[in-house]
Symmetry: C3
Subunit: 204 residues, 3 copies
């Protein structure tokens, strides 16, 4: 009996999605405690390097493969948007370290929950793509859109409060950038959903 | 007698351009007064949702249409750049609200005039595209380039003055971001012009 | 004897790379002294306009040429990434002027060195592309990746120090933005390297 080997593109996209889930889980755990930010940043950098390697694998494979399971541009764009999600998580963590943040912040914790949930939806959607269950993906893209709206609304609330409550401009600069980066990362998750929507439309 | 139905792509691009004109008009009126910023932000969000729907229409139509009046990529890129103009106007307005701005600012008023003028030039150019009067478009793309230069120069002046006159760093943070977002929106208008230029070149 | 005329695309890309080298050299000289920032900004604007003209030449030529030496998209993307490097240098310099910076800063000097080195690597790589010595390019893309890592590490160090040492929030705002823009410009140099890598892969 031969076990069919999974397509290298789908396998690598699944690996990226799994790495995003692992990093978003770890991120959510860490921001609730803020114990060792240097270690936290180091570990997130490792997740990010892992995703960079997967991106590299896909580029190399695209350049030597004639027939791809879905359009080449779709594979490349999906890879780039997944990588943007990972980059957003890592870049935010590096700011925790550079800005010497040491205490948990309720808004960061809420953003981390939105991002953790988004990561799980992305993972499910990518696995469905890999199984060619295209129409089943839409449920997850809708949830990703909804999570992005939650991120948008959360940013509005926390920036509003920041300018009402915080009087130290240096703290304000740090928090503002971190909230904005977190919201941009929820945007990146929505871009994954948009790419998937467009793949569904053209292939079903 | 049969009246020829307008092409769905050109019709939707015209609708987007008209919405941008309406929102830029409203924006220019509101920043001159700054009366009810919450209502102002809500209304701009409505304009933006309208443009999002038009974008969605174009994506759906592109995915089910074989033959398009101009290249598919051109339609998609033009849609995206128009949407960026609308997003820029909306995102700036949401900052007026989040940052509790309550007084008119002469530079914001000047930017609003540049953006209102740009919106009208975009509208004229898109209607000419729809009528296939390609060569007549160039007049408007030249004006859009000129308006973007005005925006660039205005940013230089107002950021310069901000750092000379404003000593409260929190006010500085707010105004700096708003001026920069307004200038980025004039850039988005120029991107529409660049897309149009490239469509003219390849189709005439 | 006929001298073969160099291909217009390769010639223009070489011209862009040469302009980037000249501007990065000038930039590195100027930031070490900070004498006449207005003149410095004016001269950088001239370099940038020169690159804009080269970009325009490439767009015009692409639109009237049927057969290009490498894929059209590759030429266009390479042009855009080169232009981003130039824009990054110019935009940073305009901030020196707008923010009234008047004293040399050791971190800016270090970034300028990284960017000057990156410019020379880009120039060598583009000339090799023009001579169709594709495999020899990789040496330079590896160095560009390494220089980008140096930029990344330098940003981490100087932002970290900024938030430890600087207590005046307005100085902090200025320096933070300038360091970030310089690091983004090293990213743009890496994007040139990535584009070149992808051209090598598909053409060798």
């Amino acid at each position: 009996m031969r076990v069919k080997k999974k397509d290298i593109f789908f396998q690598t996209l699944e690996n990226m999605a799994d790495t995003i889930v692992n990093s978003a889980d770890y991120f959510a755990e860490q921001v609730a405690q803020f114990k060792d930010v240097e270690q936290f940043a180091k570990k997130m950098k490792e997740f990010e390097s892992q995703c960079d390697e997967y991106t590299h694998t896909i580029i190399v494979e695209l350049n030597k493969t004639f027939i791809t399971p879905i359009e080449r541009d779709d594979i490349m764009n999906l890879t780039t948007t997944l990588d943007d999600v990972m980059d957003g998580l890592e870049a935010t963590t590096s700011r925790f370290f550079m800005y010497h943040l040491s205490e948990p912040d309720e808004y960061i914790i809420k953003f981390a929950e939105i991002l953790r949930n988004s990561a799980y939806e992305i993972q499910k959607a990518i696995h469905l793509l890999s199984e060619k269950k295209l129409l089943a993906i839409r449920e997850y893209t809708i949830r990703l859109n909804d999570l992005e709206n939650q991120g948008d609304e959360l940013l509005r609330i926390c920036i509003n409060e920041l300018f009402v409550k915080v009087t130290d401009p240096i703290i304000l600069i740090k928090k503002k950038e971190i909230y904005e980066r977190l919201e941009t990362t929820t945007d990146a998750c929505e871009h994954v959903a948009n790419m998937l929507e467009s793949i569904i439309m053209r292939n079903s």
